[in-house]
Symmetry: C2
Subunit: 301 residues, 2 copies
């Protein structure tokens, strides 16, 4: 049996765009339940300006109050050295950097050129070099940009290289607005893994146009074994009007479990946490397994 890592992003990527602020205690409770369910990594929060992302203004309190399990990596998104300092104070296991492959998207998202973003990352890498905090580098709009359209594969490879020169431990290729198709995923991931066979490579998909889990399948065929997903399918992108959310963690785990992949996470626990998430949010989530049940949930005759 091959093993797959499930990396949960709902507490950051999902909650940041919810209409309502989720109280700190409930965030902590949600993250603790996700830890208990056995996901491999949790993006806990982001250390950005509370003005930019008011929903995550409690980043420090959340990161310092959760119960940390030794098998779980607790990561946080950071935009700059100040964020790195905050993450270091809270003893995050990892920080996650994000730059868009698309210049236009990067400008819209963080008001910097891609070069400016990497210069900032260099400062972050210097700051963190004396610590035991790992750095993950995410490339947003890897498979397409809602403004620019197609993304050049060679540019993706070049930016992966930039990240690796900074000493990042892992790379995430993110399909920020759900533009990837399965054939494209296979092709690009093969290119990346042929050049860097031992790179800890994560795929981050959105299900905007229904292709999310199909893209996971081709990512697996290409050799990828780490996937971001969001409980209940929470999330989306403010720069992609009309978009639905990230791929749904419990739907992903349900599919992979019945394909006989080994995962640390417990599917039943995860489904329970997703139902709990609905009570926190006060609205339904996009996940389908919590509606239809697992394929092994048989009906009485």
């Amino acid at each position: 049996m091959e093993s797959i890592s499930i990396q949960e992003v709902a507490p950051r990527d999902g909650l940041q765009i919810e209409d309502q602020f989720v109280p700190t205690e409930q965030k902590i409770d949600l993250i603790n339940r996700l830890s208990d369910a056995g996901v491999d990594k949790i993006e806990v929060t982001s250390f950005v300006s509370p003005k930019a992302v008011p929903n995550l203004k409690d980043a420090e309190e959340v990161m310092m109050s959760i119960n940390r399990k030794k098998d779980v990596t607790y990561t946080a998104l950071i935009p700059n050295v100040q964020g790195a300092e905050r993450a270091a104070i809270c003893k995050a296991d990892e920080v996650n950097l994000v730059v868009s492959v698309s210049e236009t998207h990067n400008q819209k998202n963080v008001r910097r050129t891609v070069d400016e973003s990497f210069r900032g990352f260099s400062d972050i890498a210097s700051y963190l070099s004396g610590t035991d905090i790992a750095v993950n580098g995410t490339l947003a709009t890897t498979f397409g940009c809602p403004f620019e359209g197609n993304i050049d594969e060679d540019r993706v490879l070049k930016l992966v290289d930039h990240y690796l020169e900074l000493g990042v431990m892992g790379i995430t290729l993110a399909d920020t607005t759900g533009m990837a198709n399965p054939k494209q995923v296979y092709k690009l991931c093969r290119k990346v893994l042929e050049r860097w066979p031992n790179l800890p490579l994560t795929l981050h998909f959105h299900n905007t146009r229904g292709m999310g889990l199909a893209n996971v399948i081709e990512g697996i065929h290409a050799g990828v074994r780490r996937f971001d997903a969001s409980l209940g399918g929470l999330g989306g992108c403010p720069f992609a009007p009309g978009a639905t959310g990230n791929i749904c963690t419990e739907d992903l785990v349900h599919m992979l479990a019945f394909m006989d992949y080994e995962m640390r996470v417990d599917l039943d626990c995860l489904i329970g946490v997703s139902k709990y998430l609905e009570t926190i949010l006060g609205h339904e989530v996009a996940g389908q397994v919590i509606k239809a049940g697992k394929i092994t949930d048989l009906h009485p005759v």
Copy 2:
């Protein structure tokens, strides 16, 4: 470029379980628009008892009033010889037979044992043998039964064999309640196509647990080139409580188009017909591309 056939089932599989009866004129209009969009086959209606499926009580009028295009196959579901007679009068190009691989599901669905169903199919085949109406044999619950659970692959092969002995021109493996996973799809389809390499084999998936398009990908890897889908993702199964619908035609075509598969159908036309379908039904459909737009629909900066 490899070619893929898109077979539309919304007029039958979708409309049959809508809460409201769709007026005959609108059904005809919908089917004509689907023909114009360029789908390869349309399941127009079913010649069953109007008491059993009141939504399709206008089967004759619909089948006789639509504009028939020579490149499109117009098929109808039939349960018995009486249905075959009605289909023959209306000059359907093809009739579609359905039996469940699961005894329990067949009993629930048509109140017959699987053997009784095949005895009835034998009578239908005899009746149609002098006509130019093709026969397609569908196996429901091929990948799992909501009552019995797992389905034995050898039993599927045996029933395909039964169908072929009756002289059917094509076989459809249907995942009636959305229980198939991608690995299972690949394995079973390889088995079927290794035994019958030239069999016109269709896969019919539901997106009940989000795996629909992922299953298509593995069907393609296994060599399948014909897929049923339902405009807007309409449909479902009354015997699978909580289930969402069939895989969505325009989402399927959108994915395959950007994977460079050749299809007769025009994606933009299809998206237009799906929006028209929403106006007919008076409610939103499950399709995602009509909400998010195609990946080539860029946003202004």
